[in-house]
């Protein structure tokens, strides 16, 4: 007995019970419960017994046990309220349809966007201690300009590890920046694959990043130079099993051994690889380590700080670190006065959790998203929800005419105002509930489509978690109360004596609010419509702009050097194919990453110029259809090995009128002791966009590749309409000379991919624009119903006096036109500034014309006219006697 006394029954449950249980019953019920609890304690655990107690209390919520009183009679009325709500919905199906559908679209949009935001902010949080992992990025200041690198010096990691006790673990990570295609051959089953996500890291990689190992040991996985780690799906792709430890595969003839297999990297990481090798297996990185190079930012450095280390404090060590350990190397590369020249190397920390949304540096591991998208899309969610709530309010008020008699009767029967308010709130929560159930279905249907458009991997199960369900419930009640409150106040205020006499007319008090809400909707509609028109124009512009070369029918073959000694034979055979018009050799086609260098010019008046550089052959210029605006192109009749072509941007950067004949030298500035040839400008190429249209064309120098120039990339101009045939012939030719699989693409498709992120954000924008417009229309429909009902008698009198149908509708529409006018005046400047902001991200963009706004205005007016006319015609066609006979 003493023991059971120790464990009291849950007091909260007891209190809850006495809250609803009437005094008549409370004593015996508590007694029974306590006895049962004591019995349960003998056989069950305390927690379980307490749960059972709670369960019994909940099961006791029965009508006859409830307290009798005003409060509880209202609880009893809830059932009646729900019944009335249901009957009302059934009575007016159009109204119910618009209301529920509108709300459910609104709620579904919000849910979808909540899932999206949740996903976007979850990046890299699955790593253990992800809050302590940072990437060290580099702000590289050159004389006169700054470049932000996600990468850092190869010497940074060892320095940190050796001299900084704040660091728990540090690792270097490298992805191949230029040609990232690596062919993997598996002797065992004689297959080969082209991998683009072959990354490299230090053996300490898994000390920083907690990957789950299926096979192998994280400590030793990358210990030897030729060992690699595969992801699960890569292992399955190669061997059909993950039991692949110590198996050998090879790349370019070098055998490599599989040391470990890890689980696939979750989608919400900023870094994905299929195969991870040792950083020491790359010769150029080994060289950089031997040289102790602090100049070249060639690797990503990730650091895990010890517990309790403040990253901001730690960051303060970097200026000192960079100079102490890298100083000697800076002097070697830039001279003793490197600081005075304006060079500096500023390292800083980026928490990895923030990389996906907040980091947009040069040389990221993968293209990142932008926190701005998250903000924009959140704003859109709020807008859509606002519209649907406004609709709900307007429709409810519009319908209050029909409910007036019910309210009158209820009041006569003794209902209090608070009871009526709670009735209408119950009703709106009820409608919200139905809408939510529907919206869950909508989300379920639309998630795959959403993923397809955005390229995300959202999961429906996010909603089904308890947090999701709970927030949805709170959300339902909140929206129900917010949108039901005002109508409830209006309706419950009606006086039974006037209402029941039959001449109900709502007061003019609410007119400003209603008109205000409608104006807000028009503003949103006009904003969204004009926005989507201009965004559409810009996307069209991007895809069709003259880029300075012909991107149509241009095939690009990569990995051509794998033909080895057969290179020339392959090249010649290609040229002989009837479908091939020209073949150009190049280091890279437009859209590829180009290296850059600083050149001095042999004219003391002209400053040094920083240019992107590209090595090509003679035919490349004709293949791409570049336009030579000055001088000549590379020519077979000249020895062009030390001649160069520049683009117009270079000429502009030099600030000269006659660039032909000027000489460039000093380009090899990483190695001052190396050869330093002079290059003569022989021609100027019209600017062409070698990167995406996000950036302006910058200076470019094209070197001549010489006679034995075997480029990895071949640009092939096709002259046939039968593309499929051409591909087949080229593939066959390739197969004769190379054992590797052919890797080709078409330039136009390749370039279009640069705008994928833009396209997905704009298509999302489009979809939600449609939703917003449709919902504004339904809201308008509701309001038109209301106004027309209010003025039906006026209309009938006009009709009796001889007004024509069009003139009646014109009277109706006039009121709305004023509202549209107000909305237009607000929406246009807002849209203009927002769009200008968006367009400024593109170096080449359309200008914002008046057309888009005019069109948006016309569309809105047309929509209003259609909806209002529909209602107007309905009333106007009714025989006036039917409406006027009450008088």
């Amino acid at each position: 007995m003493a023991e059971t006394q120790k464990y009291h029954p849950p007091q909260l449950a007891q209190r809850f019970l006495s809250f609803f249980c009437s005094d008549e019953w409370i004593d015996e019920v508590l007694g029974d419960l306590e006895e049962q609890y004591a019995d349960n304690l003998e056989t069950k655990t305390v927690t379980y017994a307490k749960l059972l107690y709670w369960w019994q209390v909940l099961r006791l919520m029965r009508p006859h046990i409830f307290k009798k009183g005003k409060r509880n009679s209202r609880v009893m009325m809830t059932k009646n309220h729900l019944k009335i709500s249901y009957r009302n919905l059934r009575k007016n199906k159009v109204y119910a349809f618009i209301n529920i559908l509108g709300l459910s679209v609104g709620i579904a949009s919000v849910m979808l966007i909540a899932i999206y935001v949740n996903y976007e902010t979850s990046y890299d949080k699955f790593y253990e201690d992800s809050d302590r992992i940072h990437r060290i990025a580099l702000e590289r200041v050159y004389p006169g300009r700054v470049k932000m690198f996600g990468t850092s010096s190869i010497m940074l990691a060892p320095t940190l590890k050796e001299y900084y006790p704040q660091v728990e673990a540090v690792t270097r990570h490298h992805r191949l920046f230029f040609n990232n295609e690596i062919t993997i051959t598996i002797q065992e089953n004689n297959r080969s694959f082209t991998e683009t996500r072959f990354h490299f890291a230090d053996s300490s990689f898994f000390d920083v990043f907690s990957h789950e190992f299926i096979q192998g040991n994280p400590r030793t996985a990358l210990d030897n130079i030729n060992g690699v780690v595969l992801t699960e799906s890569t292992a399955m792709k190669y061997f059909g099993t993950t039991d692949v430890l110590e198996k050998t595969i090879s790349t370019g003839g070098n055998p490599i051994q599989i040391n470990a297999v890890i689980k696939d990297i979750p989608e919400n990481s900023h870094m994905h690889f299929d195969i991870l090798g040792s950083i020491f297996s790359l010769q150029f990185l080994n060289n950089a380590i031997t040289q102790g190079s602090w100049i070249n930012p060639w690797v990503y450095t990730y650091v895990k700080l010890k517990k309790g280390i403040d990253p901001q404090e730690f960051e303060k060590e970097f200026p000192n670190l960079s100079e102490t350990y890298g100083g000697a190397n800076y002097v070697q590369a830039q001279g003793t006065d490197w600081k005075e020249q304006g060079h500096s190397f500023n390292y800083f920390l980026q928490p990895i959790e923030s990389i996906h949304l907040r980091s947009n540096l040069d040389v990221e591991v993968e293209p990142n998203s932008d926190i701005a998208y998250v903000y924009i899309i959140t704003v859109i969610a709020i807008i859509i929800l606002t519209i649907s709530s406004i609709n709900f309010i307007n429709l409810s008020i519009a319908r209050s005419t029909e409910r007036a008699k019910e309210v009158g009767i209820r009041k006569v029967m003794g209902s209090q105002r608070s009871a009526l308010i709670s009735q209408f709130l119950t009703e709106s929560i009820f409608i919200c509930f139905i809408a939510s159930v529907l919206s869950i279905g909508l989300v379920f249907i639309s998630i795959p489509k959403f993923n397809e458009i955005l390229g995300t991997h959202l999961n429906f199960s996010t909603i089904i978690q308890p947090v999701g369900i709970l927030s949805l419930l709170i959300f339902i009640v909140l929206i129900g109360i917010l949108s039901g409150f005002y109508p409830a106040m209006v309706i419950s205020r009606l006086q039974p004596s006037t209402v029941l006499k039959g001449n109900y007319k709502s007061s003019n008090k609410g007119v400003w609010l209603r008109n205000g809400l409608i104006v807000v909707q028009f503003i949103i509609s006009i904003f969204m419509i004009s926005g989507s028109i201009i965004v559409g124009q810009q996307m069209n512009y991007l895809l069709n702009k003259d880029l300075g070369f012909n991107k149509k029918d241009l095939m690009v073959i990569r990995g051509a050097i794998s033909t080895g000694d057969n290179y020339n034979a392959f090249y010649n055979r290609l040229n002989q194919l009837s479908e091939v018009e020209a073949v150009g050799k190049t280091f890279g086609v437009p859209g590829d990453f180009l290296g850059s260098a600083v050149f001095e010019v042999n004219d003391p008046e002209i400053d040094d110029v920083r240019v992107n550089s590209l090595t090509i052959d003679r035919e490349y210029v004709t293949t791409m259809e570049f336009e030579i605006v000055m001088g000549r192109s590379f020519d077979i009749n000249f020895n062009d090995s030390l001649n160069i072509l520049v683009n117009e941007a270079t000429v502009e950067a030099m600030g000269v009128q006659a660039p032909i004949g000027l000489k460039f030298f000093g380009g090899n500035n990483n190695n001052p002791n190396g050869p330093n040839p002079e290059f003569t400008i022989i021609g100027v190429v019209k600017d062409y966009n070698f990167y995406s249209l996000h950036s302006e064309v910058s200076p470019l120098v094209m070197f001549y590749g010489g006679n034995n120039f075997n480029s990895n990339v071949l640009a092939i101009r096709l002259n046939t309409t039968n593309i499929r045939n051409a591909i087949q012939n080229i593939e066959d030719t390739w197969a004769e000379f190379s054992e590797q699989p052919i890797n080709y693409s078409f330039l136009d498709e390749y370039l279009d991919r640069q705008y994928e992120a833009d396209r997905s954000s704009t298509s999302i924008f489009d979809i939600f624009t449609y939703i917003a417009i449709i919902m504004s229309c339904t809201g308008l429909f509701g309001l038109a119903t209301y106004v027309v009902n209010q003025r039906s008698k006026e209309m009938s009198i006009r009709k009796v006096l001889g007004a024509s149908l069009p003139s009646i509708i014109a009277v109706f529409s006039k009121e709305f036109l004023i509202l549209i006018g107000v909305a237009f005046a607000v929406a246009v400047p807002a849209a203009y500034f927002a769009l200008e902001q968006w367009l400024s991200d593109f170096a080449y963009h359309v200008s914002i014309g008046a057309l888009a706004f005019i069109l948006a205005g016309v569309v809105t007016v047309a929509l209003v006219f259609v909806t209002v006319s529909y209602q107007g015609v309905k009333i106007a066609l009714v025989n006036p006697t039917k409406i006027l006979r009450n008088e």
Binding site: W25, G31, D32
Partner: protein
């Protein structure tokens, strides 16, 4: 006398009250039902049925008999009314007579 329809659950509660009398209170009835049928009925269920039966005039109740296990709270002790007893008796008679027919009917079960 007209047959007043009662549910199976109500019947079981009536039977339990009859067998536990004079110590028939809600939790005791739950235990009795658990012992006899193996089913766990919630307190709410039993309370509702007792309330209903009392309204129908088949049960009477009075307060009394507390124990320290209940935290000193008193029980509501139920007892059968004459009407209640009659209803039960009638039910039993109907069943008895029908069972006799079933028993003499020599049923066979072949699947």
């Amino acid at each position: 006398m007209k047959n007043e329809p009662i549910s199976n659950q109500e019947e079981i509660v009536l039977l339990a009250v009859g067998s536990l009398q004079p110590e028939a209170y809600a939790y005791g009835i739950i235990k009795e039902i658990k012992d006899e049928t193996g089913q766990s009925w919630s307190l709410g269920t039993v309370h509702t049925i007792l309330y209903r039966l009392e309204n129908k005039g088949m049960l009477k109740s009075e307060m009394g008999g507390s124990s320290s296990k209940r935290g000193g709270r008193s029980k509501r002790l139920y007892s059968l009314s004459q009407k209640g007893y009659k209803v039960m008796e009638e039910l039993m008679n109907i069943r008895q007579s029908m069972w006799t027919k079933v028993a003499t009917n020599r049923l066979s079960f072949n699947g």
